[in-house]
Point group: C3
Chain length 110, copies 3
C-alpha cells in the first residue's frame, strides 16, 4: 500500500478559538473542496508565551485532511477565515492508509 506516483496526502493541524470557530472554518474548507474531511476536537487547553508572559486559553483543534498540493491554498484560506492574526496551521505528512479511504479523500479534493 505505499503511495507512489500520486499526490501525497497530509493533515493540516489547525487551532481555533472555540469549537464554533473550528466548525465554521472546517465546513468552509470542506464546502470549497480544500479538505475532504475535518476532525474537530473540543476542550483543548493551550499554553504559550505572549509578550513575555505565559498565557493559557481554551481552544479547539481542527485537523483537515487534504492533498499535499492543496496545503498552501488551504493555509491562505484559513488565514482569511480565522479570528487570530497568526493562526497555527502546520502540516503533518500522511504515509500509507486504508486504500479505499485514501481514494475517497483524493476524489473529494479533486
Amino acid at each position: 500500500m505505499p503511495e507512489t506516483g500520486t499526490d501525497p496526502l497530509v493533515f493540516a493541524y489547525i487551532t481555533a478559538g472555540s469549537r464554533d470557530e473550528a466548525l465554521r472554518i472546517g465546513r468552509t474548507l470542506v464546502e470549497e473542496r480544500l479538505a475532504g474531511c475535518v476532525n474537530i476536537l473540543d476542550g483543548m487547553t493551550s499554553v504559550y508565551r505572549w509578550n513575555g508572559a505565559v498565557e493559557q486559553a481554551e481552544e479547539a483543534v481542527l485537523i483537515a485532511k487534504t492533498r499535499s498540493s492543496l496545503f498552501d491554498r488551504l493555509t491562505a484560506r484559513v488565514r482569511d477565515l480565522h479570528g487570530y492574526d497568526t493562526p497555527c496551521v502546520v502540516e503533518l505528512a500522511v504515509g500509507r492508509g486504508n486504500p479505499p479511504y485514501l481514494d475517497w479523500l483524493r476524489t473529494e479534493t479533486a
Copy 2:
C-alpha cells in the same frame, strides 16, 4: 536518539463511530499485539462531504502506536472490526522518542 537499523514506529490515526467502537477495536489491536498502546479521544466532530452534501457526525479518534512493519496488517484488521465500509486509517511516521518507551513499544508488538 535517532532510530536507525530498527523497524520504525508509526501512529495509525483511525476514526470510529463512538468511544465504545474505538475501545472495542483498540482493545482487540492490543490483545492481538498489532499495537502496543492505543489512545482514544472522545467528543470529536467530523465534517465531510457524502453524496454531494456536507455532513456532520459525532465520532471518536483512535491512535494506535505500532511498528511500521505491522501497519498493513493493522489496517486489514481494523477494516474487519469496523462498522464503516470505508474507515479512516492513515499512517503518521514517528521519529525520535524517549528511548525506554520506544523499547517498550517494540517489545509489546514483537
Copy 3:
C-alpha cells in the same frame, strides 16, 4: 512555503496521567523555552498491555511544538518532570505551515 535552511519544527506527542500533570509539565516546557506552545487534550483513554494484562487508564495528551534541535532536551526534561517511569514522548515531524506562525514558534524557542 517549504522549510529549507532552517531548523525544522516538530511536535512532541506526550501522554500524562491527568490534565493537571499535563498542564504542569507543559507550563514548565514553555517557561523554559523548550516549547513555544503546548496543546493539552483531556479525556483521553489509554489501552495497553502491562505485565501481560490489558489495562485501561484515563489520561491526557500533551502536544508540545518546538524546534527539532530541542527535542532530545525536551524529552530529558519531560522524564524529570513526569510521574511515570517510562513516559510516552515521541516525535512527529512538521512540514510546511503558516509562515508567520512558524516564525513565531522559532522566536519563542530561540
